[in-house]
Amino acid sequence: MKMTAAQKIHTQPDMAQITLENVTVEFTSRALTVKAVDSISLDIRQGEFVALVGPSGCGKSTALNMIAGLLKPSAGSVTYAGAPVAGPNTRVGYMTQKDTLLPWRTVEDNIAIAFELRARKAEAANARERVREMIELVGLAGFERHYPAELSGGMRKRAALARMLIYEPETLLLDEPFGALDAQLRLVMQQELLRLVERRKMTVVLVTHDLEEAVALADRVVVFTSRPGRIRMMRDIDFARPRVPEKLRFTPEFGAICEELWRELREEVAKSVAHHA
């Protein structure tokens, strides 16, 4: 396996849970071929929390789709737990940007759906109890019997989060999970996510537009360039765990890291805006 110097620091090869190696993705529509991701290499250790930031359309979501096995790279390879990802990766929980709650199911039936599947029947012991706990955790108590159409955007996000967390997948792929939430709720949910992830030692790949969120939650922040997406830089975030994001935010180191990352990011954002103009 070939690695660049920057990555070696983070990689203990036997521990790598997710490996992207020289991954390129091209989308072809009619005669037009667009390169979304351009030879990205990235190793994510087991139990690591990695945040991907970058301008819109830089291929962050594409990276998640590949790890989930929903998309094949045009070139390069994606490996999960030592084996190439050849199809849907059922060891990950994926919360996409668009909410995919089933509109004909109530909140509690949506959240409980994993336990109805034969593949997860074994984990379904006291499912009712866990559904109740999870609903409480994401602050949807009282809305158990509501249909998604009756909820606000933020509530639907929380229901989708609960649906994924309830079966405790070993790896979480989160695409803007807190985007639709108001600032206070966002903080609460970030804290809850950290609590769960730190306790369960889950591996997390988080895509976010919010630099502060990335720095507060992640062990490492990866900054993408504007399209075609490449990795511009990586930055380790060494705050001790367990973390309390709301306190972390007010420390000088936190501000300094955000500023450092923002300097990198703003150039890319400016570039992508120039492209669109």
Binding site: A68, L70, P88, N89, T90, V92, G93, Y94, T96, K98, T100, L102, P103, W104, R105, T106, I113, A114, E116, L117, R118, A119, R120, Y147, A149, E150, Y167
Partner: protein
């Protein structure tokens, strides 16, 4: 300042119904007067029609109604499930869809009514040709609706279940089928009036019983009152079908937000 208070709801509803019944009574009175003082031979009279329906009830109306209902119910019983199953199958397998679709589209461009003489020659004067006609019409309608529904399923919802480890069958039962429900219901609501049309037209061409037969029999005798009576029974039947379908739809699609409910 006045507010449209929600408690005014039932009162407004009552007034609406009052207005409607007043209009109905006025129209019927006008018709009745027109019949009494005008060309009764052509337009008959509501009171005569009601009397005729009363006579028929004592005679063979229920038999004719039963024949038509049997044709419709059996025809739908064959056509609806076939259309739904084939629509789902082809809708979920693009390869098969590419092969079969042009055939079904071509079949659909055939005015179905034109099939009636052929079916009568094949199957005779009994219930069979009408049942086939009803089955055929309802099959096509359900096929096209279900097919579109199966293709419109949100693939990301399916992906979500795939990643949870769902099997193909589980994804079909938990995502594809429920998400097609609104399309299937729309198809059924379309198919009911067409089933009625199919059965009646089949009966009008050649038959010894059924509501369509009542119409041709009355027309053949220049019996306007009988004609209107038969039409009235048909109209009532159609309205009942529609109401029935609406109730089922409302229950099946209770998760839909109120604004998009029609």
């Amino acid at each position: 300042m006045t507010f449209a208070s929600p408690s005014a709801g039932p009162a407004r509803e009552r007034r609406l119904w009052l207005n409607r019944s007043m209009l109905a009574v006025a129209l019927l009175a006008l018709w009745e007067a027109g019949g009494r003082f005008g060309p009764e031979r052509w337009i008959s009279r509501p009171s005569a029609i009601v009397a005729r329906i009363g006579d028929w009830l004592a005679d063979d109306l229920m038999m004719h109604l039963g024949v038509t209902m049997t044709e419709i119910v059996v025809g739908l019983g064959i056509g609806l499930p076939l259309g739904i199953v084939l629509g789902l199958l082809l809708g979920r397998s693009p390869r098969a869809a590419r092969v079969f679709r042009p055939f079904i589209v071509t079949l659909n461009s055939l005015p179905i009514v034109a099939l009636a003489p052929l079916l009568i020659m094949w199957f005779g004067l009994g219930l069979m040709p009408k049942i086939v006609l009803v089955a055929f019409v309802s099959f096509l309608l359900l096929f096209f609706n279900t097919f579109s529904g199966a293709r419109a399923v949100d693939e990301e919802q399916i992906d979500t279940l795939t990643l949870m480890g769902a099997t193909g069958t589980e994804k079909f039962i938990k995502v594809v089928l429920p998400s097609c429900t609104s399309w299937i219901m729309a198809g059924i609501k379309n198919a009911l009036p067409y089933a009625l049309i199919g059965a009646v037209i089949g009966e009008m061409m050649l038959s010894r019983a059924g509501l369509g037969h009542l119409i041709t029999r009355s027309a053949g005798q220049f019996d306007m009152t009988g004609l209107y009576a038969a039409l009235f029974v048909l109209m009532l039947l159609g309205a009942l079908f529609n109401e029935f379908a609406n109730r089922i739809e409302k229950w099946l699609l209770r998760w839909r937000p109120a604004q998009t409910k029609v």
